[in-house]
Symmetry: C2
Subunit: 336 residues, 2 copies
């Protein structure tokens, strides 16, 4: 929370309320995972930007490497492209470098960035290098392409749609707590999931163009399931009810909870940075899509975790049948 109680939602409202209008080629502006611009014929261009700031998004401490930071700086942007079902193409990279980091750190950073970029066919077309007084900052703007008829927005969820989750949730949050001193036998895997998230680019693309228009809306889970479920519901004008019993728990996260005695729910619902995909899928097609997804991506978990509903409630149904409203997830300005 800032000086005058400013939250991220407040600030977005203050700032984007005074914006000049966008051009006729803007199909989607602020408010989805990416902006969408009309391109050639049925093609669209998608654009996203995300920054990682020292002391806020990462700490140069236990388990941290600049190589992983370079990977993650691109991964978080690739995940936004994935959530649109688009193909990543070009990046612009801005680095603000305090004087205590030098050539070695920057070479490591770029190695992590470049390896992931190569795997996804992303080239760097520009950027900005600057010094900074205190903290390191890396900001990436990523461009992608898609066809307009296939792209998945946040705004297409309908009452009755199945709420489907592709990928893991909670593991990155457990990894973060391991950097802060928690321990468990499989901590190396959880640390890897925190420091080197794998964006589900191929999976997002598959969901957009191999499911016969049965996927209606999609978002990536960067802020946590509770928060991002709210985002997709607000954009679509619907509510959602999550079945607690259906939430997937990785073996490593289950073990982490056993060893540390910590509650799973905070990780599953509130922790961010897992970069799973959360989608609204035609209920009649959900089982078939889950089956085909498992065949196509055997290493990516898939689960139907609830259903979208009329109204605007983001709810969770517990094992005993009780239903409660899900509080929001991560807000950059609402932390203590």
């Amino acid at each position: 929370m800032n000086a005058d109680g400013m939250t991220e939602a407040d600030l977005l409202k203050t700032l984007f309320g005074t914006l000049p209008p966008c051009g006729a080629d803007v199909i989607v502006g602020v408010g989805d995972d990416c902006a969408v611009l009309r391109a050639d014929g049925d093609d669209v261009q998608v654009l996203t930007t995300d920054a990682l700031i020292e002391g806020v998004d990462f700490v140069v401490g236990p388990g941290f490497t600049f190589e992983n930071l370079g990977h993650k700086a691109l991964a978080v942007n690739l995940s936004d492209i994935a959530a649109m079902g688009a193909i990543p193409r070009h990046a612009l990279v801005t680095l603000c470098i305090p004087e205590h980091y030098g050539r070695k750190e920057m070479a490591e950073l770029y190695q992590g960035f470049s390896r992931l970029a190569s795997r996804h066919g992303v080239g760097v077309i520009g950027g900005d290098l600057s010094s900074s007084r205190n903290d390191f900052m890396v900001s990436v703007t990523l461009l992608g392409t898609a066809s307009r008829s296939e792209i998945l927005l946040r705004s297409g969820a309908k009452p009755g749609d199945a709420a489907m989750l592709f990928g893991r949730i909670g593991d990155s949050g457990a990894g973060l707590d391991i950097t802060r001193g928690a321990h468990c036998p499989s901590e190396a895997i959880l640390l890897e999931r925190h420091f080197r998230p794998e964006p589900l680019v191929d999976q997002g693309r598959w969901l957009a163009n191999r499911t016969g228009n049965h996927v209606h809306a999609m978002i990536d889970i960067s802020d946590g399931l509770a928060s991002d479920a709210r985002h997709i519901c607000e954009a679509s004008g619907v509510g959602v009810r999550i079945d607690h019993a259906s939430l997937p728990v990785s073996d490593e996260l289950a073990e982490f909870a056993r060893y540390t005695g910590r509650e799973l729910d905070g990780y599953l619902l509130g922790a961010g940075e897992d970069y799973a995909l959360f989608a609204a899928v035609d209920a009649s097609a959900a089982t078939e899509i889950a089956g085909r997804f498992r065949s196509a991506f055997p290493r990516t978990p898939v689960a139907t975790v609830g259903s979208f509903r009329r109204g605007n409630h983001v709810e969770i149904r517990w094992e005993n049948g009780a239903v409660s409203e899900l509080a929001g997830g991560f807000d950059h300005f609402a932390r203590q």
Copy 2:
């Protein structure tokens, strides 16, 4: 200079030496004022990104306002679009906000940004908001359009071309020194030129498409004339000789030098952030273009300040006929 003696040029080499290849639609990648992507037919898209960081690019001190910062954050990117002769269109804005700034400061910032955006028809299509521990940072990625046949790169200068300057140089540097305690009667104007530079977007566009292909190359002067003259020469594989006597000095800068007793040359050659345009123009057309430019833009100074030559020397010829090599300008990592 960073821990291990890293300069900006070093770093660019380290980083961009390991980059994955760009796609077939990339006409210009890293190394010009903007990247250029093939778009629809003869159309191209241009992209640039530039960040302003507290304590490096600005100080929250005498004369500083967040309104001006918002203006300048967009202006520096508009100037890169201007240097291509392109039309600015869409922006993505990233803010990293320490907790001592709140809604008021951000509303001021956005007012400065939005006013300039409206004047140039720029809409904001996305961005990222984050907190930061110490310093404020604003990063803008700006997209523009142009036709491929008209766009002006850094790489087209030819030996014999006139070196022409559109706009003022040195005034922003004098304004910066006024924020540090220097005084003169017209200091308000110099402060304005430092805090609120006016990017020469219409002028750049005019030079690209109203001069019958007689303008061969262009760059905006963000780092200082000496440094940016070197950039355009390196990209074009030529040298340049600047005539010291021909450099334009505004009335306000002349007065500043008289009152403070400071040498003009540091401001004219080394100071950055004036966002004038520096171009290589067919020598046979230079006088005619200068005349028509004055008619079209009576408030923007224009001068022929030297000529491009074979070789790779960036030189200055003094009034006594002596010629010396011009040292470089501003390097983000080379300061004391």
